[in-house]
Symmetry: C2
Subunit: 727 residues, 2 copies
């Protein structure tokens, strides 16, 4: 580590180990500052790490409470209104108690998190320590508050007043959350502390909203946060008989405002303290302590590398254009600096519209946000509704008509093979022949429509899919055992394909001008004719639909032969396109045996293009078969074959292993590792190899294996018996 970083670290981190940290806090106490300890560490990404996290906190409390016995009583920080306060306080993250903390699965998460919380609360009481619960990303906020309220309402903990909860002023929800807490403590009967901070993950929350196309949980402007924060201070202090206030800020204006209210309302000492971060805002802290108020310093300690992200947040905070600490050092007019903050217009008027995930003018469809109760419930309802529809029969649809077949196959839920998802009628060669004629006939009129006209139908299909999203996710979940969140992403991708291809074709339709003196040249794209789409079961919806609508948008007509294992989802695609108003014959749903009917289609002289995604063996066969010019065939066929991948991820020694381990794990084991894009090799440099490997193994071991429709399932069954044999 360079000296510069080490110097910085020393400033903001109170020690690399407990013994260094002890010196720092003893010094703080000598200066009449209280403290709360935060153990810096890696992200908790496995159950082993979750267990370690708890144990390290227990060990820390045991150590510090022992040392505390030697500390003399300092009235200003150790007593309040006659009550003796806990000299040792620790700050913990609830989400670190369970590596699979997930709002999609509130039941299991609550169960897994509550028990360590209870253990910690008991231990703290036995050792005479206080516990403060931190808050991090917005995604976990609601569930965290819910779990804490639940645990702290249990008879064993209902009397505890040495416990704290954190609220973040930059969240639009925070006022409601505070009011809810007031009502909750009224019910509970005993106060807890609310630490009021502004929030340290503004960039992350904002970027994530834009990435996902979700509503912005935070205020867009710092001044709005400041205004909201003052409002929260007011509410909190006005309710001092129900909640103790810990005002965590380095903004002199915010702090002054709090003290003014304290003085006005004559708030008792137990119900008010200020907090600051170790190494930041020291002068303000001293001034406030000199006024006789209790000031608590948030003291992170631990190894530098895992502490780096904490360090970076502090640096960003100190250097942000909107930071009080930064501005106050620059000789800005004091009147301006301490002017009352007012919410900006865009923040005041924000109606919760989702941030737009726009790239090159294209708006991506948004995945569901399962941190929102309603969205979670809609998904569960759809899963049950679709479950009741399992077992129907699906026939080939040629020229808009379902046709009877001689042969059938059952599609079963891979995670529960006794559950028949659908009975599939397999088309014969004669039926395939008639499908080609239908597609050929439909081509003559379909190609004549403008890209706009064709695109409007696909955009309509996209809208239908948005409406039926949960139902489609459920079908994917039941038929190929794809976990909910991944099925949801697949539907988003399918929607994007419709809108993107429609838009691109409108762009391409206008052609390209390449004029020279004396020459006018226009290059245009023309549709080719009948396209056979042979789709895989691993993205049964997005790839089957995407390959089809690409061809359709361009003016071709399509025969879709889905993978046998996902033929029901193929039928759902046919339904969507039919409801969207696609003319009869432009899209043919043709479930069939690949080895006979698929092969016949590939060889057919009237087929112009084969779009295939699947195995290398079949793909190469198709390439070869399609390359042979057959009698009566007047064109060369085109093959788009996307076959297996062998994707590597390189992890170098500077990688953030918290992210690298999770990234590799998600890539390798998402949908049980059955994606062509799955990471199949991690190339890890020696200095981090052992650590990476150990953490990856433990993190992967922590993934729940189960039926795909269950919200805690991260890894479900592979597609069929043959796949299972292959593992």
């Amino acid at each position: 580590l360079s000296t510069a970083v080490a110097t910085l670290a020393k400033r903001y981190i109170c020690g690399e180990n407990l013994s260094e940290a002890t010196k720092s806090i003893e010094k703080l106490r000598r200066d009449r500052f209280a403290f709360t300890m935060d153990l810096l560490g890696e992200a908790v990404i496995s159950e082993v790490e979750a267990g370690e996290y708890l144990n390290r906190y227990i060990a820390m409390m045991e150590d510090l409470s022992g040392k505390a016995k030697a500390w003399g009583l300092i009235d200003q920080i150790d007593k309040a209104d006659g009550e003796e306060l806990k000299r040792v306080q620790v700050s913990v993250k609830l989400s670190a108690f369970y590596s699979q903390f997930d709002p999609l699965d509130p039941v299991k998460t609550t169960e897994k998190v509550s028990e360590p919380a209870r253990i910690l609360l008991r231990k703290a009481q036995a050792l005479g320590c206080g516990i403060h619960f931190d808050m991090e990303q917005y995604e976990f906020k609601s569930l965290t508050l819910q779990i804490l309220k639940q645990v702290l309402m249990e008879p064993e903990f209902r009397d505890r007043t040495d416990v704290g909860i954190t609220l973040q002023g930059y969240l639009r929800d925070s006022e409601q959350d505070l009011c809810d807490l007031v009502e909750w403590t009224k019910l509970r009967g005993k106060p807890v502390t609310v630490r009021l901070v502004k929030g340290a993950y503004w960039d992350r929350e904002t970027i994530r909203s834009y990435q996902q196309g979700w509503a912005l949980p935070v205020f867009s402007d710092k001044v709005s946060t400041d205004a909201n924060y003052e409002r929260l201070i007011q509410i909190l202090l006005e309710n001092h008989q129900y909640l103790y206030a810990a005002i965590g800020s380095h903004n002199a204006r915010s702090l002054a405002k709090a003290i003014a209210i304290v003085q006005t309302l004559n708030i008792p000492s137990r119900a008010f303290e200020t907090q600051c971060l170790y190494g930041m805002g020291d002068k303000f802290a001293k001034a406030i302590a000199d006024m006789g108020y209790r000031v608590r310093v948030y003291c992170p300690f631990g190894d530098l590398i895992p502490g780096m992200s904490y360090l970076i947040r502090r640096l960003l905070e100190n250097t942000a254009n909107s930071s009080f600490l930064r501005i106050s050092g620059e000789g800005v007019d004091v009147g301006k600096l301490i002017a009352a903050p007012a919410m900006t217009e865009r923040d005041a008027n924000y109606n919760g519209a989702p941030a737009l995930n726009i790239f090159d003018g294209f708006v991506n469809s948004s995945d569901r946000d399962y941190a929102i109760n309603e969205e979670r419930e809609t998904t569960q309802t759809a899963l049950q509704q679709v479950r009741r529809q399992l077992g129907k029969t699906y026939l080939p649809i040629i020229n808009g008509q379902a046709v009877q077949t001689d042969n059938y196959v059952e599609s079963v839920n891979p995670a529960n093979s006794s559950q028949v998802v659908g009975k599939i009628g397999l088309a014969s060669i004669e039926q395939a022949e008639s499908a080609v004629q239908v597609a050929k006939n439909a081509f003559s009129s379909w190609k004549k429509l403008s890209a706009k006209e064709r695109g409007d139908i696909l955009r309509k299909a996209a809208d239908i899919m948005e409406e039926k999203r949960e139902e489609l996710v459920a079908w994917i979940c039941w038929e190929v055992a794809k976990p909910i969140r991944e099925g949801d992403g697949e539907v988003s991708e399918a929607i994007d394909f419709c809108r993107y291809y429609a838009k691109e074709m409108e762009r391409l339709e206008s052609g390209v001008q390449r004029n020279l003196p004396g020459e006018d040249n226009t290059y245009i794209y023309q549709p080719r004719g009948v396209v056979v789409v042979i789709s895989p079961w691993n993205f049964p919806f997005a790839i089957a639909l995407g390959m089809s609508v690409a061809a359709i948008a361009a003016g071709n007509t399509v025969i879709l032969k889905p993978a046998e294992q996902s033929s029901v989802i193929g039928a759902k695609i046919a339904e969507v396109l039919q409801v969207a108003g696609l003319p009869t014959g432009v899209f043919t749903y043709l479930p069939a045996k690949g080895s006979t009917v698929g092969s016949h289609l590939v060889k057919h002289p009237d087929v112009h293009l084969i779009a295939f995604t699947g195995s290398q063996q079949v793909g190469c066969q198709i390439v070869t078969e399609a390359s042979i010019l057959r009698p009566k065939q007047k064109h060369m066929k085109r093959v788009i074959a996307e076959m297996g991948g062998k994707n590597g991820i390189i992890i170098d020694e500077s990688a953030d292993l918290d992210q690298a381990v999770v990234g590799v794990m998600n890539s390798a084991f998402g949908f049980a590792g059955q994606k062509c894009s799955a990471c199949s090799r991690a190339i890890v440099l020696a200095p981090v190899y052992d650590n990476f490997l150990e953490r990856l193994v433990e993190a992967t071991r922590s993934l729940k294996v189960g039926e795909a429709h269950l919200p805690d399932t991260k890894f479900s069954a592979v597609i069929d018996g043959a796949a299972q044999q292959n593992i």
Copy 2:
């Protein structure tokens, strides 16, 4: 025809037929204007049309000279210094006497053009008419002057003073041309008339220069032309004892300048007249006639459709921003309007640098301009030099070494099959195998160079080809019987390929960034490996080289198997690339049998890409063979197969048939119709069908068939006996 066009036509065209025209000129004579008759008509694109052109002029002279007998003598226009002038004068285009008028072939052109000129001169004398020779495009100017001087120096015509020649003031050459004419008439002993015009094809000449990348023959600025024009007037009038002056302008300043000189130098009446176009500058013409000078009106007559281009030139002239007639009607300050013109700086300083044919920043290589004597002669010299080198032996070059072969084949000149162009050593399968290993080895280092480093070698190759252009054209001419001009174009194309691919690869190398919030994505292109190029004989140089350097620029290594019929040219490509410094092994010259060695290469598991141009049959075979994944092959092969075309040209009823006929003819019969891009169908709308067909047949019949190296050959032998059988 709309009324507006008809009205315009009536203004600028003196009649649709001779009887209407006669009324117009008799009216002009009554107003004391002399005339010269121009017969509007289609471009002369066949020998039938050339013959008709001559006959129509003879008929016109016979008719008018008969009518002239009834015209009374008008002193001002029919007499000068006591000499009686020809009352009937016609203006003819020398180039219209021969449909294949071509500066590349001055001998045959002179021969073909001189005889009709003589016939016309004799006939004119017999009928008592004057003849004036017009001038059109710059390309024909020098040869036209040369032929006229030659004919008018013949004893039979040396005394004739009733003949005129035209010079165009916008040409940079014009002063020199005028001085040459003065010297020539001194020698001749009798004066001819020089009609001095400014020139009516400025746009065409300028655009053509940019298209071809040739020096600009015209002044860039109108004011420079005006300045030059006044200088020419001065020179012409100062030499009035040798040349009669006909000042053809509608610019009052230019005319006034001429009259001032006439008055100053006291020029005799015979040696000076002014000319104007029918329907233009009437007021000036009348004013000058009123001053007693002879004014001659240039009177076009004939059908409107073929006269349209004349009409359009007149409209452009009347509406151009720089036109005197246009400006003078707009109330511009008279002082400014008649200020002495001065050559602009860019015209004064122009050093003859070629105009740049730039597209998207890319400068195209320029074809040779065969209107320039020197370039014509260099080509002829090269043809003879190369002829002396015919008959050598060319062996495969593997790893930089020529290797002996068991089998040989002779490459002969298709236009003269007894002429052996080269003896070709045909590689064996074992040699092909070693070529693949060499290419594979070379790939590992070649791909590591930057696009700039690879591109520099190709740019060097381009420079070498520019230097050796005539030699390369000669090889193409001898080996595949491609006429000179087309071979020259092929070398330009090859040069462009080198420079273009080098440049494009530099652009592509930087990759494309497609970043999203939270993602940094870079797409890059990677070379594939060993590329087999199987090239055709119809563009033996450009396509073989182009397909090779595309692959080379991208970082691949190449094995070129040229068509057997053009293997010597393949060896020339190897020479160029070797001299340019291409590392050994990056390019392998491998003449061989396609059916055995070619096929072996296509199937080879170490070959990544096959670039083929040739027949559909072979192309489809390659596509099929390459699609089969062979043992030890770890990649899918790519095939780029450019096969036969079936290209149509649509001629609608508004087409300019002069251009449509020539365009179709050149496209269909260029290189004896052996190009894949050849027009193989003309789709002609009924209203113009008969006329188009008749003219196309005659125009094509007028193409000279012969050995490719002869300058008058437009259509040479097809490639071999088999091709001949196919016709």
